[in-house]
């Protein structure tokens, strides 16, 4: 084991700022796997989130701890003000409600705004549109969903304090989406792609109309939590889906505007990249230095990311879900050791799962991942 000279909080703060660390920090995105290991169904974890969060803490103790929590517990959806709730809640299907008892929560790809809605959104902004047409999105009464959001916030803060008492910092105080991701979800990938092809100017105007609301929404939420990072969920705008000409007009300018707005108020943006963004990596050098974390899921070339972003932005990731679920501890250790040696060289690397750890993660594999950070020292 490496002799530690920093606390987890100091280690994470330093790595994000691209300062030297005593070892590579390890910070998994951990939600359902501990509850699953403790014998709870996914629906049980949702019905009893305190038990699900307790399960995370038990796993934490069983593996000897890790350096930080992205979220404070099972509740990943924190403080959605009405605008966010309307944007996202209709698309999340839950086990025990829409899905079988032990199914994983899943995303419902269906159209919830029409092509005609672009004109209304351009006129009213997203907030104005969502408020006016609220009943179209959610069948719950408005006061009920606001009360739900307030409860979520209360529990999120309580769990955050419990982690802090264990000496473990929590990072994410708000989540949001890029405007492209937002419309792709609400129009569906296929419809939105056709919109971009057929009506690019209208789409651009709609993106312009929502970006300010998404920024305000995230800043409002994070200021309530007092945490330091805003997670920007990015999947649909990268090179896996679109050529660079689309990225350059419809995705990157908005990412940049959001990151700069967050940075100007002292917040770090976690660029949560799902799917392959390798061809988009050079653009990230235009974002403010040491104000973002480039979080990868195992599909973007992390070695290329290191080459491009060394000295500019911290990199986080990227253990693939299939390795956590199907691999062996030896394979896991080898995978993590390689990343610590190469991506960790010279600093600026957080070892993590690629996106969330899957619920069927093998405990021994997870332990091997956590231990790898404590055993392998990267080259200076």
């Amino acid at each position: 084991m490496i002799k530690e000279t920093m606390t987890p909080g100091e280690r994470i703060k330093a790595v994000i700022s691209l300062q030297p660390v005593d070892r590579v920090p390890v910070l998994p995105l951990i939600t359902l796997f501990p509850a699953c290991r403790k014998g709870m169904t996914n629906a049980d974890a949702i019905r009893h989130p305190d038990l699900a969060t307790q399960a995370i803490m038990e796993i934490f103790d069983e593996v000897g701890g890790w350096d930080g929590m992205a979220f404070s517990g099972y509740r990943a959806y924190l403080v959605p003000p009405r605008v966010s709730a309307v944007a996202m809640v209709p698309h999340i299907l839950q086990p025990g409600r829409e899905l079988p008892e032990n199914a994983a929560p899943q995303f419902d790809e269906r159209e919830t705004i029409t092509f005609e809605d672009y004109a209304l959104i351009i006129k009213l902004g997203w907030k104005g549109f969502a408020e006016k047409y609220y009943p179209r999105f959610l069948s719950f009464p408005e006061d009920k969903i606001i009360a739900w959001a307030e409860r979520q916030f209360h529990y999120y803060i309580r769990d955050m304090k419990a982690w802090e008492a264990k000496g473990v910092p929590c990072l994410v105080g708000a989540m949001t989406l890029s405007p492209l991701m937002f419309f792709s979800i609400k129009r569906t990938l296929i419809n939105f792609t056709l919109d971009l092809h057929r009506h690019p100017d209208k789409v651009a105007a709609a993106l312009d109309a929502v970006v300010g609301d998404l920024i305000d929404d995230a800043l409002y939420a994070i200021k309530l939590t007092g945490l330091s990072c805003i997670l920007l969920a990015l999947e649909r705008g990268g090179g896996f889906y679109y050529p660079l000409k689309i990225f350059e007009r419809f995705e990157f300018p908005y990412i940049k505007r959001m990151v700069e707005a967050f940075a100007s108020e002292g917040f770090i943006t976690i660029l949560h990249f799902d799917n392959d963004w390798t061809i988009n990596l050079p653009y990230l050098k235009e974002l403010p230095k040491a104000k973002c974390i480039c979080e990868l899921d195992g599909t973007t070339d992390i070695f290329k990311a290191k080459e491009v972003l060394q000295g500019h932005m911290c990199i986080m990731g990227d253990v693939p879900a299939s390795l956590s679920a199907l691999g062996t501890p030896e394979e896991m250790e080898a995978y993590c050791a390689q990343r610590i040696n190469v991506i960790g060289k010279g600093g600026g690397y957080i070892l993590s799962s690629g996106c969330e750890l899957p619920p069927d993660t093998k405990f021994e594999n997870f332990k091997a991942m956590v231990n790898a950070a404590k055993m392998h020292l990267p080259p200076p």
């Binding site: 899905l99 199914a103 995303f107 056709l194 050529p243 299939s322």
Partner: protein, 227 residues
């Protein structure tokens, strides 16, 4: 190559519509129109392979192709149709409701002249086996985006084996998180996370050509089609 094929390959939606209509009015046989559209899709596939096109162009060209087919379909029904190049049973496995990748690959396979029996999402193993038996399709495609899908894929392949069909069919799995490790675990013949590559693999299944499983240049060092 015809103007129609290039119009489709260049994603000129309105021009494709106009040309299809003009050809119908001029008495061109519907199968010839379909062939020209398929040639356009072949160009799209080539451009994708050469990294000139992305998934978005596959989606757009697939939609343009579907629109063209909708126009000629009434005439196709009235005429004698050629046999498809292959038949395939497709679905997202039990416990998983993701459909984007499956739907895109289904569109591309239809454009490549495959007869697709799309069972939808959250498909239990017995449904796959039932449809394979009923249609005699020689290919099974299973999609999934979550790790629990691995178990469902394995279970489905076991059910295919138990039904005595395994030797008669080729099986491909697809989805954002499938890897060679997953392919081996579930016992499939091939895997892909790329819709266009999936179509190519299915064409090779049908042609029965030998596939060199060492020739893959996947950046993760894994073989996508080791059958």
């Amino acid at each position: 190559m015809s103007e129609l094929a290039y119009a489709l390959a260049d994603l000129h939606e309105d021009r494709v519509k106009r040309l299809v209509r003009e050809k119908i009015d001029a008495g061109v046989t519907p199968m010839l129109i379909v062939d020209e559209c398929r040639k356009g899709m072949d160009i799209v596939g080539e451009r994708y392979k050469n990294k000139e096109y992305f998934l978005s162009e596959l989606i757009i060209s697939g939609e343009i192709f579907k629109e063209a087919m909708a126009t000629v379909e009434p005439m196709l029904k009235a005429s004698k149709q050629a046999e498809p190049i292959g038949k395939m049973v497709l679905g997202t496995v039990k416990g998983d409701i993701h459909n984007i990748g499956k739907d895109i690959v289904a569109t591309l396979l239809k454009a490549a002249d495959f007869q697709i029996y799309d069972l939808g999402i959250d498909v239990v193993p017995s449904k796959f086996v039932e449809k394979l038996t009923e249609t005699g399709a020689p290919i099974l495609g299973m999609s999934g985006l979550l790790t629990p899908a691995f178990g469902a894929m394995k279970e489905t392949i076991e059910a295919v084996e138990a039904a005595g069909l395994r030797d008669k069919i080729k099986i491909i799995i697809g989805g954002g998180i499938v890897t060679e490790q997953v392919r081996k675990y579930v016992g499939a013949d091939a895997f892909t996370d790329d819709a266009a590559e999936g179509v190519e693999i299915c064409k090779r299944f049908i042609s029965g050509g030998e596939i060199n499983d060492k020739g893959n240049d996947d950046p993760r060092g894994e073989n996508k089609s080791s059958y």
